[in-house]
Amino acid sequence: MTVGTPKHRELGLTDSEYELIVEKLGRDPNDVELAMFSLLWSEHCAYKHSRKLLGRLPTEGERVVMGPGENAGAVDVGGGYAVAFKVESHNHPSAVEPFQGAATGVGGILRDVFAIGARPIAILDSLRFGELDSVRSRHLLDGAVRGIGHYGNSIGVATVGGEIYFEEPYEHNCLVNAMCIGFAKTEDMVRAAAAGPGNAIVLMGASTGRDGIGGASVLASAELDEGDDATKRPTVQIGDPFEESKLLECCLELLAKGLLVSLQDLGAAGLTSSAGEMASAGGVGIDIDVARVPLREADMEPFEIMVSESQERMLAVVEPARVAEVRAICEKWQTGSAEIGTVTESGAIRILRDGEVVGEMPVEALVDGCPLYDLEPAEPEGWIYGNRATLAEGAAPEEELLALLSSPNIASKRWAFEQYDSIVGSRTVRRPEQADAAVLNLPESGNAIAVSIDGNGRRVACDPYAGTIEAVLECAQNLACVGAEPLGLTNCLNFGNPEKPTGAWQLDRAVSGLADACNALGVPVVGGNVSLYNEGPEGPIYPTPVVALVGEVPDPSQVAGSGFVAAGDAIGLIGPFEPNLAGSELTKQRGHLDTGLPQPDVANVAAACAIVREAVRAGCLASAHDVSDGGLAVAIAECAIAGGIGCDANVEHLRERGAQPEEALFGEGTGGFLVSGDRAVLEELGAVLIGTVGGEQISIGAGDRSLSLGLDQAREAWSSLATRV
């Protein structure tokens, strides 16, 4: 700590925020109180730079069971069942220690989901690193993938999908966003509001140590400086999936037996935030005696106990008469439990040590008292990120297609997803890369769900508004390809510093795009997470709104795959796809990135989604795949590789949509579906017929840019990631 710097500034509070705390308490806070305020008033917990913007998002819908503000959002899937889901970032811990950072990211999001009484059934993850030729990026990638696998595999929750992008602006600020899907009987779900003065507060799970102290304020709400890797390591939490596995089963048994009044996980800011949020939600007070908290180290100070981010802990409110029964079930599952406090009528959080008060704060001030800030956005002039050419101008179209297929953003991520158990739970109808979205069977409710997660930061950097709309539409298109209709959306907004005009502008425009896309599609936002300050001396990350859509599949036996199926099938293009090289993978490789994207036609994309969805549900299509990174030529190649069969296609008719041959091949944009099947059926669907499945070549006619590539050669390029990590 720098000599002379006031403690509150070291803890990340501004002078005016500190003065507000003094005003609310009517005195100076002591160390315990200051530590707790600094965490709950951090960006990570208080959303002080984003909450005002998030009010733009639509959050209501017929199928919404739980919306924003709960540990996870949830939607009704019929038959008395609900699907809960949430995505959350663990970016800063993962940049410091990727294995534990990613592992505890998974552990944390699992707890959010079982805290509301849903059994976790699937994990997805969205990862961003610097370019693959960077040693640091490969180190972070390897650690994060191992960490996700370690936690998810060990606890027995299937990792069914995700995405990984490699872009220079993530070199020093990697992104690790983890998503969990849970499944529950709607009537068994619980909210996180403390209730019933006199009820006991029971802490369950692991003992409390010094790990993760200050993570929320010191790590997650300040820019990472160079050289931080070493100095910040002690604040990264350590995960233990075995402990969480026992805790999960224990909590679900307690809830099934109706023994808990409410339940809350301990995440960022540990006991401070979980007790504070429970008291706030219930409009009550809570007394906690830190002397009753089981510790790993005997000499911990009260403030350390209150802010510790030790993993695998849950906080429950229990009626006094049922405490013994609750603790007996904890014992059965060999998970710790301790009665550490009581619910009170005081409206205050009181921290005691052996009965002596060591901190006392009004819940309202602590949880809801943080000032919310208006942003001061300003659009930057021109492209603020770099450009690096890796592909020569004038390369042959075959060479360009191979360069795109072997791009780590487009190439198969088999190397990564095979390190994850994608099948435990026996629900996985479509494994990674078998279809555009993961499909999970729900025999209990007699249907299935599909899940997709997406967010191409490069395109959002080109135009935060249009790029964010595209991310939502990409997910919607992924769902349509497996016959799913969106039920709800969650998101994680990964951005740079919101206190800087550029960061503020990117965030502001992206949230507007998210709101407009959700309104146009009629999809409610049921939850979200915000990760700001993802920037360092080198500049900000690409603005990266990661969005995830959950949709309903009425009949999981009618789910198309993405690969071509049979020789002789017709290939068709459905939707208002207007290819453009702006922001594309090809433009990146040529080093020509600049601002600006065409504005997406949301209504027509939604209409195309409906056509494809209904066709898939009716079993009319042999395959369905959306046109995404790398454009139509890459989509065609991906369908051919996935199906193990070539094709003869021609994209010249896109000239009618204003596309030159190169744009027709590699231009990107929203709204395109590449489908295959019976010629007459495709015509009836309004598809533009562009070719026929068959052979061992991928041949695509495009005027003077026509190309032909052997299927094996394409597959080799697309499968090349494993040899380069």
């Binding site: 075995f242 402990e243 089963e249 599952w333 099948i423 435990v424 026996s426 069977n441």
Partner: protein, 211 residues
């Protein structure tokens, strides 16, 4: 046939095994690791997962559980016992099966569909495998004896032995033939919707020794 599925703290695939046993047999019961009473079941599945977090060594702690003592007695009496993945590791640790499972040769967890060749019949089964410590190992002389005694149950088909198992061994039995352990997961191959139904053949094979 009534199956029993053991449940340890840290088991992951016990619900999948329960489902598979329901599909295969006439009923199934979950057996808690602290129970010495197998509740009159006809055959036992020791399921996959990470029993006791796989701390110390995969399967090393689970073998000392009261339920495993009961399984050892039942096995000695000729009851069919199927160990899957972590269950295979537990049975090896318990000395009910020969050999041991080491870390995969590439030192990474891997989840993928593999082809298994059933020893004897030569039939090929498509079943998923998912493990980080699945490299079967036994000394050469022991392997020769096992081969001679018909104790090799399944081998990975050519090109499918990704963990580096000796002699491509994926599954083995005890001398009597009533205890079978394998690394791939037959309980995840009982429904065409989620992949294949070839796993039921493995349950059949174990059930057949009941006599």
């Amino acid at each position: 046939m009534i199956w029993g599925v053991l449940q340890f703290p840290g088991s992951c695939d016990e619900r999948d095994a329960l489902h598979a046993c329901e599909v295969h047999g006439d009923g199934v019961r979950l057996v808690w690791h602290e129970s010495r009473d197998l509740d009159g079941v006809d055959g036992i599945v020791v399921p996959g997962g990470f029993s006791y977090g796989d701390y110390l060594r995969a399967g090393a702690i689970a073998r000392f559980s009261p339920a495993m003592e009961a399984v050892a007695e039942a096995a000695a009496g000729g009851a069919p016992v199927l160990g899957i993945c972590n269950g295979f590791q537990v049975l090896c640790e318990a000395g009910l099966l020969p050999g041991a499972l080491l870390r995969n040769v590439e030192l990474r967890f891997r989840c993928h569909q593999v082809d298994l060749v059933e020893e004897g019949s030569g039939d090929v089964l498509s079943i998923p495998a998912k493990h980080g410590e699945g490299r079967y190992y036994a000394p050469e002389e022991m392997l020769d004896e096992m081969e001679a005694g018909g104790q090799i149950a399944y081998r990975y088909a050519e090109g499918h032995n990704s963990n580096g198992s000796v002699r491509d061994i994926a599954g083995v039995t005890n001398e009597r033939g009533n205890v079978l352990g394998l690394m791939p997961h037959p309980e995840h191959a009982v429904d065409p919707l989620t992949g294949s139904t070839d796993g039921l053949r493995v349950f059949d094979r174990v059930a057949r020794v009941r006599a």
